[in-house]
């Protein structure tokens, strides 16, 4: 089964300020964007489940003109705090890349 990364040109996570993380999932073409979005694999519910975040705390943007799905969630620990694991928030996107796309 194909995986998400095969349809994308960029998948990244990053701090959006010290208190939030944001994910940008940018697709190569319209066909891949439509296929993945319609599969529900990276729906609001699916990402909330994957990252164990309440949907009310999440911001989810479908940006068809940029062939992009953008998701912002609160951080578990604030950037650089005693229990933080990733100061820049740049490595939280890993689990998205290999999601199977039906």
């Amino acid at each position: 089964m194909p995986e998400l990364w095969e349809f994308t040109k960029l998948v990244r996570s990053k701090n959006a300020g010290p208190f939030e993380l944001t994910f940008d999932i940018m697709f190569k073409d319209r066909e891949g964007f439509d296929k993945v979005v319609n599969s529900g694999t990276i729906s609001e519910e699916a990402i909330a489940r994957l990252y164990k975040v309440e949907r009310a705390q999440m911001r989810y943007f479908l940006i068809p003109e940029l062939l992009t799905v953008k998701v912002s969630i609160p951080r578990g620990a604030f950037s650089g705090d005693v229990k933080d694991t990733d100061v820049y928030g740049g490595q939280f996107h890993g689990p998205l890349l290999r999601l199977p796309i039906e």
């Binding site: 990053k14 701090n15 959006a16 300020g17 010290p18 208190f19 939030e20 944001t22 940008d24 940018m26 994957l50 990252y51 164990k52 705390q57 911001r59 943007f61 940006i63 003109e65 940029l66 992009t68 953008k70 912002s72 609160p74 951080r75 578990g76 620990a77 604030f78 950037s79 650089g80 705090d81 005693v82 229990k83 933080d84 694991t85 990733d86 100061v87 820049y88 490595q91 939280f92 890993g94 689990p95």
Partner: protein
Amino acid sequence: MKKKIKAVAATGNLSTGFREDTLVRAVEGADFLGCDAGSTDSGPYYLGSGRARGPRAATKRNLRLMLREALKAGIPMIVGSAGHAGGRPHLAWTVEIVRELATENGWHFTLASIDSEVEREVVLEAFRRGEISPLRPAPQLTEQTIRTAERFVAMMGIEPIQAALRKGAQVIIAGRCSDVAIYAALPVLEGIPACVAFHAGKILECGAASAEQRQYPDCMVAELEQGGFKVEPPNPAFRCTPQSVAAHALYETADPYHLVESGGALDTTQAEYSRVNDRAVWVTGSRFIPAAKHTVRMEGATLAGYRSVVVAGIRDPLVLRQLDPFLATLRTVVEQKIADSLGLAPDAYTLQFRIYGRDGVMGAFEPAPRVEGHEVGLVIDVVADTQELAADILPLVWHTGLHHPVAEHQGLISNFAFPFSPPGMNAGPVYRFCVNHVWELKDPCEPFRTKIEAI
């Protein structure tokens, strides 16, 4: 009022730099040169400790070229968020470099330095008057947390920069400052609509990052007019496309369409990005919604303790297959040892086992917290009230762990491969961001103190 304003961003961050020839080309015919020097992105250490994020030599090189070109062209140079965190020591660090450069090169100009550090007492009074309110998510702010914080800064909007420009400042070094305000201040002063100026500022603040493939950090140029702006990289090797410029609005922002600034919010929902030529993009259609009240964002950092760490590799499959119970029993044993030898209860320090090869990177967000490889990198992380305490606790943990038994090995074993001698390191103070709040102001210049001097 000028018809067009040509704005130059030297680079996305003052310490990362740009190509000299690009800057020279970019400044030709420009109305001002700006650069952002800071961020909260590297964590709370810089704000908390008062240390600037260098390297100093690179910052000095970049400031030298920027000053040289700006002075030659007779245009203002504006640096925001000096020294990374934009507090008083960070501002002083940057101004010192500017003075050095002026002396070394025989340059003379009017310098404005804008201090954005806010005294604890001032924050406390504003808090008591109910002028400080939380954003989401925010740490809880109390009088106690304000009293114990190391440092507060307020993030200035365009107004303090405009005030300095009106007073004839040629070089402006600003403490903590909205990235966008660096680039919006002068155009708005010259009559460019706020929607154009703020949107252009948002694109410019990361330097060449809005280009299609930014091979290295470099300058970016925007030409602002009444109805929109053109963005075009001055480096001929780079190009902007409608897609690359529009996509830049996503970077590091939680909401790609709404950017909240000190005096209002930029709404780019209806923005249009169109091709001027192979390398340039015309942007129009965003809106600026003025806020009913002026607010500035507050940042603050508080000391959370002192850290000592050790890196320990584990390659034994019998240990790895029972890593969780191994570390759980180790924790129980060392907590007792620490209590016995140092008289410290477990709540008097933080002991973390960071397990690379399991969930060291993502922590609680990791959907597959399992060891699947043949080795694990364990970072034992101790944070205590003093560096001495952290340094005392750490060897009790790693030495106990080194020989902590597993049932399958009968006899003394050594579980950890330490790459360094001594195994442990003192990592110094640990800070935490203690504010994510906005401060409501009557006068948007109120918390900022500007010093104007002839250099």
